[in-house]
Symmetry: C2
Amino acid sequence: MRKDIADALKLNMAVVREGYEKQAFADNGNRFLTGNGYMGIRGTLTEARKADMPCVNLAGIHHRKGNEWMEPLNAPNPLYFALEGYSLPENADKVVSHTLSLDMLHGFFLRETVFDTGIGHLTLRVQRFCHMQDVHLLAARIWLCSDTEMDLKVHMGIDRDVWDIHGPHFSAFETEDSGECTVLLGLTDDGQQVASALHFPPVCAASSGEMRSAAVHLFAKEAYTLDLVSSVFTSKDTPLPSQSALDALNTCPAFDALLTSHKALWASLWEKTQVEISGDKDAELAMRNAIYHLLSIAPRHASDLSVAARGLSGQTYKGAIFWDTEMFMLDFYLACLPEVARSCLNYRIQSLPGALEKAKAYGLEGAFYAWESVEGGKDACSDYNVTDVFTGRPMRTFFRDKQVHITADIVYGLRKYVAWTGDTGMLAQGGARVVYEAARFYLSLITRRLLSDTYDLLDVIGPDEYHERVNNNAYTNEMARMTLSYAADICPKYLDIPEEEIRLFREAASHLKVQAPDPETGVIAQFDGYLALEDVSVETVRSRLLDPKEYWGGAYGVASHTQVIKQADVIALLEVLPGYDRGIKEKNYDYYEKRTEHGSSLSACMYALCACDIGRPEAAYPLFMKSAQADIAGGGKQWAGLVYIGGTHPAAAGGAYMVLTRGFLGLTWENGEPQLHPRLPAAWERVRLKVQRDGKTYMLDTEEA
Amino acid sequence: MRKDIADALKLNMAVVREGYEKQAFADNGNRFLTGNGYMGIRGTLTEARKADMPCVNLAGIHHRKGNEWMEPLNAPNPLYFALEGYSLPENADKVVSHTLSLDMLHGFFLRETVFDTGIGHLTLRVQRFCHMQDVHLLAARIWLCSDTEMDLKVHMGIDRDVWDIHGPHFSAFETEDSGECTVLLGLTDDGQQVASALHFPPVCAASSGEMRSAAVHLFAKEAYTLDLVSSVFTSKDTPLPSQSALDALNTCPAFDALLTSHKALWASLWEKTQVEISGDKDAELAMRNAIYHLLSIAPRHASDLSVAARGLSGQTYKGAIFWDTEMFMLDFYLACLPEVARSCLNYRIQSLPGALEKAKAYGLEGAFYAWESVEGGKDACSDYNVTDVFTGRPMRTFFRDKQVHITADIVYGLRKYVAWTGDTGMLAQGGARVVYEAARFYLSLITRRLLSDTYDLLDVIGPDEYHERVNNNAYTNEMARMTLSYAADICPKYLDIPEEEIRLFREAASHLKVQAPDPETGVIAQFDGYLALEDVSVETVRSRLLDPKEYWGGAYGVASHTQVIKQADVIALLEVLPGYDRGIKEKNYDYYEKRTEHGSSLSACMYALCACDIGRPEAAYPLFMKSAQADIAGGGKQWAGLVYIGGTHPAAAGGAYMVLTRGFLGLTWENGEPQLHPRLPAAWERVRLKVQRDGKTYMLDTEEA
């Protein structure tokens, strides 16, 4: 394992943190995440118990405990391993050195800790991974070496005391011992099952049960290794998850063979997207880290699964699918794993019934997609998402019921997928129905005043969530208009729709209010009345906080009645839809950038794209880095009161990818061929990057542009 | 003065409070208010300074200090009078007895305090009134008597240290001495002037200036009297207020003659409305007190002045005109002082330009009347009306911009005035224009969804202010429909309006969403989605308060997301508009009554009316008494943090009058003649009451019903 990480380091494909800090567990859990699209393992130590938030987070399986938020299940942790007397954080005083590494080249988590034994040094190394090919498998190799002969007691097994945010979700457990293998089945009160199985190493042969202990004798300076191989299956995968988990262990190859196939798959993934940024190793590493995370959570194994807003890093944001996927991650998947893009959009097609039902529940027609989508398109978003720091009461928020741009965002993703892949089959196989129902949704939502020819979308929330219940949000109106027009264009080809309805789509598209640029300033109002709000700086608004944790938005937040916004809104519009010229982008960038808190990880990349478009790559650079480094840097908003809201930031990662390609490289497609119009930061000498399209691989290279 | 109060007591027309309590000054200021429509004097002691909130509150003249709320001016207090060594609260330890009385029969404030002088008793009596005929005059007689001979020092004059809520409003003063008379002119920074003049009694001849002192020698058991006569004029009345104030004093009759004419006018007013409730002296007194207050604040001297929501009891609610006048007080004025009803509605006609301007400012057409109307129809209501008790921050409220029923309420008042008086001249002279612009307002506000034939009034606040920004509030929709229909009916007779517009009025009226009674329960939803809100009791909601002063409404208030409401809303609708049968009233009364906090003094009377309509006078009785006794009982919500929000409750008084007449007496008019359908509380033996209509006086008498 030392050679692997050395290679990765040499190739600028490793993230390393030296030194032990007890409080770093939350950040490190995200920073050193390994995953394979089916599951993700937070980068916690193998001996971590609940308080340090270890988790084997599963994609696409949710449970709701009582009236709590619904959230994805974490499997019982089958890779628990602890050295008695040499565990962290308990034995932190014995730590001589401690290094965590993420080997992005091979998809490994690595940990090396040297402990002071009193008479010498004991080294513990762990190499852990989610198998990239057989996504039900996860494994760890433990490597021990002491410079003096010593006896150790080790504990390992399947930890049923699962870390959950709104759990516990398992109300019962069943175990089954099958010789060297044990399976632990967690059962939820709604009949769901998750089985974690572990193949114990021979040293445990003497004991039984899901948690086992063993005595290990170390000879001086002789390495001792232990291999743990485990598997996870759920009742979504198979009717008998326990059996499948045991079968998987009984038939799987030995550890070294698993390693080989895992590395081969990672190699093939990197092969598709090799990125080099000469002249800026930090940017290169950050961009590769962003891509690493996008690859680690891509549901390559599925045909109708999407990617959650916090990837597979835990239960934050309920493991739900947000607009993040279509609006921020899709570019990357299209260019590198188009089958994953397809799976994400298939998920939306499959979950149309949930969207139809949601619209109906609000007295509307068509498809009102979930703001936080879980199985079947059910909306996991509750009406109360923020806790008032002053009263401790839940605050009524309107993300679920008013953030109506979500439906258009999905249409946008579909349209982009079809345009990129030419795969109109997706339209024929449900996509056109989604587009039609999306247009119906807006048609049913749009109002007109009796005395006006202008149609309105009233009482909405745009991407900037700090301003609730606004009228004619520019982004929302234009995305709805795009949806109506696209529906009018493509639906008649696939569906039998009355002409009158198509006429209505077009009429609504042409009458829906345009937030036109102000003739003098060129500024597009974010919504009706926005420009009349108090015009103060982000710093002034920040200085009004009475509590550093209080919510800036809502009815009475410090930003709510000012022009200070959370994230790109008008700027997002200018970057996702065509037709805005450089002058307008420039004026709106200059107006909105200084009024934006960037309180969402989705903000910086949109501004960076815009900065590139107006010829300011140096202004774009820090915004790009903020996006690309989101999961290296750590920090950010991790806690809302006592609730953990941290995790990885795949949308920021996808956003960084957009900035690199569409922004710095100025990538466009002309006659099916990529064209670069580079506008690189001064320090960047050359960028090379692979993209796939229509089965062909293109090596983009700024030296050849 | 002792005979007068004895008469009043005998006739059950006096309110008396015995004993001195320092903290009672706020309640007593309202309870013992005297007024004449031009001004009101709070029932404070003559020696009261700022902290005890004395005021000579003026009708129809406002000033705004800096960015504070606009509020009516209080004149410099010209009836300041103090006995050195025998002043309250300073010398409370010397009080032997203390009695305050309101002589409603003659319109006097009376105070008698007996002080212990150490060697005997000193009695101070004060009789004070606002002259009912010459409304610029106010006067006080001071009566002193000691049972031992003694010397006293007295101080009197015009107190320029005016009590204000959001003042001080006078930025400069000018004084002018003219022999026995002195005038003090207060000047605001926007050029307004208020002059208070005082005719000093001869004992002050030796001194000069606006505040004078004098030595008084009392012989044992010999009464000593001092008369103070003063006058108030403003720059709204005359270009030279100081001169007018002095002239008024120089030409006015002597104190006794003033007393006589004042009493005669009160007698003539009582003659119009004599009310007797045999069998229930408390109810009789309460009803008379309600009428007393309505008479004291009636702008009999003016032709286009209205009545403020807190009458003339101070600056609370900015001295502004609310819907209270048209919806709660109008019945009384129509039946007793129709010229006052006319003045109130003329005020709305005169202030139409302000309403047109307000609509325009919101991008709407027609007349959007001010929620808190001051001169010219300007809206004194700010966007921030409530202070968050947890953060001390102002909370954005929507009374100003969303409580759109105000325009229909005014049309309702106009329609009622015309129907009662037959005075269609008011329609010809501006009234029809108001109705037309009101209908235009709703037409511009109403929206329709593209896929629906139903029109909506979205994003409004109904009478129940706890639920903000709701859709299709039943009360608002029906009042808007009434407005549109009434406009279609009457406007063509007075105005040249295109037929197309009339057609639009009718179309909007017929398509506007009806909150139809639920077919099973008969309950009318207060607004879209109301019945799906959390259904908990008022007590449960109250138990959730973290701070007794916190606001129940707004975005996150304890009531906001429940079915608990502040005040009559659906029930108000059922009582103000015809066409709801007894069954519907019964079902909605039973549903809503227990969900109503009655957090507004406008609530109880509507429920009482409804209770009478469904044959439950005993249920109506406590609600009636709550309304009628509002200004005797005192208490209620008097402070919002450090801001005084107390005052008299003329709308509750008017509401009590409605309950008595329309409710308990079941008064209707058939062929121009009053018909009674009494449903009296069991204890009530007989009710007699005078009403005027068409120049005729009718003595309603339940014994003749």
